[in-house]
Subunit: 413 residues, 2 copies
């Protein structure tokens, strides 16, 4: 079933507001097994909204139109839908009463134009408003003999999301004749590209393509790593969970310890949790990342149980004088190891983690941009490694953070 | 002149990436006086991209298509344009050489599919790539006897922005036959809300509403502060510059030293530049921001001239033992002052800047969430101040960074 999306608002076209509504709706539609092949932004203009609706209905089975349901003169979605349906707008007294009640409950005077929100195209049914004053609409339309449907929801994100989840998705499932629940599970990974993972998982991907359920998607997420999302459709939640458990175990058997967590886990939450469980504390010494490792760890409330602090040793002689690095070039594994030991000593922690590297724009110590040396002092051992990261300054810095935290995660076991 | 926008990518429809490109393009078009009445997202499908291009060209004078110019099999914008133009794709050897050079310079093997980027629809001209490997395209199209134009630019935001500014907007101005130039100037401010600035500037805003040129817009930009953008249209660049100079001086006379810079200046670039000019070096001690101050300063290439480093003293006893803070509660101005002195001593700099505060989720030392104490050690003086910031954990952390750097900026004079 194809469900296209139309977002209405001149401010969207002017770039004053980024249209995140259609992205959110698109994500929900995909998770529920509906295709969305065209998503259109159009301004507050009756003729153009109506034209865009007609075009969308020509190709799609259903169209969600978002925005333009408010009380002001430039809220024209209702009129546009009536024009497309070839019907009149009718005042529904129960909605008018509801709008009056909402104003009364807030102790506010109601300008008359708010009653525009009680106008409903003849033949449409209403999605009750539970948060704002504008109700949504479900409008059956016949196009070239085919029965299609237009859904109108407000542009205010929390009102829109409420109506999509409460009314639009269930109605779409009813019309598509499917009764099912949709549940997703995301495997969080780091260490391999989308193409590399795709190659290793090609057998599973082929099997899933054949059965069609669950679906598997890769989501490249920068310094949040590569997400592998499984989405299962099943008659009930227990059946969906069983499907996800089976397939995520199969994926994990192949991807192995590149999987660092699930769903809302992040690399930093996983590292902090493992250290907390083992009663370990962490000190960081960072140069190339300039504070980003500590900033990212301290983004998590409660990091103070584990993180003692970080020495951002940006000047070379801070590395020498404070951290005890041997004077000389500072982008190499020996320096990274000495920084890790220095951080552990100065900040009095059980583990020291250090990064030194070249973020660019130009090379340093003869090392090319993207070279990052990671040092890790745990117990009596110091382990060091060098990674080469792609991209320009900010990307190198950000990828360095997850690469170093992943090194720590693996050593924690 | 009507310029519609088409963004290409299945990931946009699935909500995996929010389409910020069309918003940015829409903003530029509006600032340059062009109408953009429809902006469409479409997936990586030759037939659908071509159909969307044809529809857009039927209504608009020009269409910008963004994305789908990469090397892989699902990058289909070139083929779609050739289909719409009714021409073949031709390999341009000079582009192929350029792509080969880029890979060679990076010391990387070039998979053959990269040469797809050297395929150009017959009759199109090329927008040279200066950042990525994919060039852009300018494609003249005749629709029902009318001369129109298709611009293709990459979906990678910094490549797209470069090509829009360097090639697309100038070409649109040439075609629109307008001799006017549009120039913007942005005053970067920190310290007051949009409504506060709006009230103080209401006289100027009324005058500008009456004359209509330049226009004035506020852009609330989080930890980048509040931007005031003036956009002038004039027959030539000198006239536009004169208009902007006049009005930005009038705005600045009212806003005063809350203006910390212009256009591409950032709070951190301004602070680093002022310190560099005065031969000063900086050491930071941070707790509430957990490394964000240093991370933000080191985001600027060349920060190492000024920034010695930062001590992220997350654990209280790191403040006591390493920085010499008097043991006791740590969220107060006395502690901030001692941290600033400690950072300056330990990292051997001319100036010490320190932050201690409560990011939340819960209060600390009896201080409410959003309390941030800033300490500044310059010469023989230590100055401290306390600010109250709104928002939740991440917002408090980010606003703390610009608040502290602004404190430093003001003391530098």
């Amino acid at each position: 079933m194809r469900v296209d999306v139309l977002t209405v608002g001149t401010e969207l076209l002017l770039g004053q507001i980024v249209d995140t509504n259609s992205s959110w709706i698109g994500e929900q539609l995909a998770a529920h097994g509906f295709d969305s092949l065209l998503q259109v932004k159009v301004g507050d203009n009756l003729g153009r909204v109506a034209a865009a609706l007609r075009r969308a209905l020509a190709d799609a089975d259903a169209v969600v139109v978002c925005g333009g349901l408010g009380p002001t003169h430039d809220d024209l979605t209702r009129e546009s839908i009536a024009a497309v349906m070839g019907v009149e707008l009718e005042l529904q007294e129960d909605i008018a009463d509801r709008v009056r009640e909402i104003f009364a409950a807030r102790g506010r005077y109601m300008p008359d134009n708010n009653l525009r929100q009680a106008m409903v195209p003849a033949g449409a049914s209403v999605i009750d408003q539970t948060r704002g004053t504008a109700p949504g609409l479900i409008c059956p339309v016949v196009v070239d003999g085919a029965h299609k449907v237009l859904y109108a929801v407000p542009g205010v994100p929390h009102e829109m999301k409420d109506m999509i989840e409460r009314a639009v998705l269930p109605d779409l499932h009813r019309r598509s004749g499917e009764v099912a629940v949709i549940v997703s599970r995301t495997l969080r990974t780091w260490g391999e590209s989308e193409s590399g993972l795709g190659e290793r998982l090609s057998g599973i991907i082929d099997e899933l393509d054949a059965v069609g359920n669950p679906t598997l998607a890769f989501l490249a997420s920068g310094w949040d790593g590569m997400k592998i999302r499984l989405t299962a459709k099943a008659p009930n939640r227990a059946a969906a969970a069983a499907l996800l458990a089976h397939w995520s175990a199969r994926v994990q058997a192949i991807v192995g310890d590149q999987v660092f967590g699930y769903d809302d886990d992040t690399m930093e939450s996983v590292v902090l949790q493992r250290m907390r469980e083992r009663g370990l504390t962490l000190a960081v010494a960072e140069s190339v990342t300039g504070g980003l490792v500590a900033a990212r760890l301290t983004g998590i409330a409660g990091a103070s149980d584990v993180l003692r602090g970080s020495i951002v040793s940006y000047a070379s002689d801070v590395k020498f004088d404070l951290l005890g690095v041997m004077p000389g070039p500072v982008v190499n594994e020996a320096a990274a190891g000495q920084m890790a030991l220095g951080a552990r000593r100065v900040l009095d922690s059980s583990i020291g983690l250090a990064l030194t590297g070249v973020a660019g724009p130009s090379e340093q110590d003869g090392m090319p941009v993207g070279t990052v040396c990671i040092g890790l002092a745990i117990g009596d051992t110091v382990r060091t490694t060098t990674v080469r990261l792609a991209g320009q300054r900010e990307q190198v810095r950000q990828l360095s953070v997850i690469a170093a935290l992943d090194e720590l995660r693996r050593r924690l076991g």
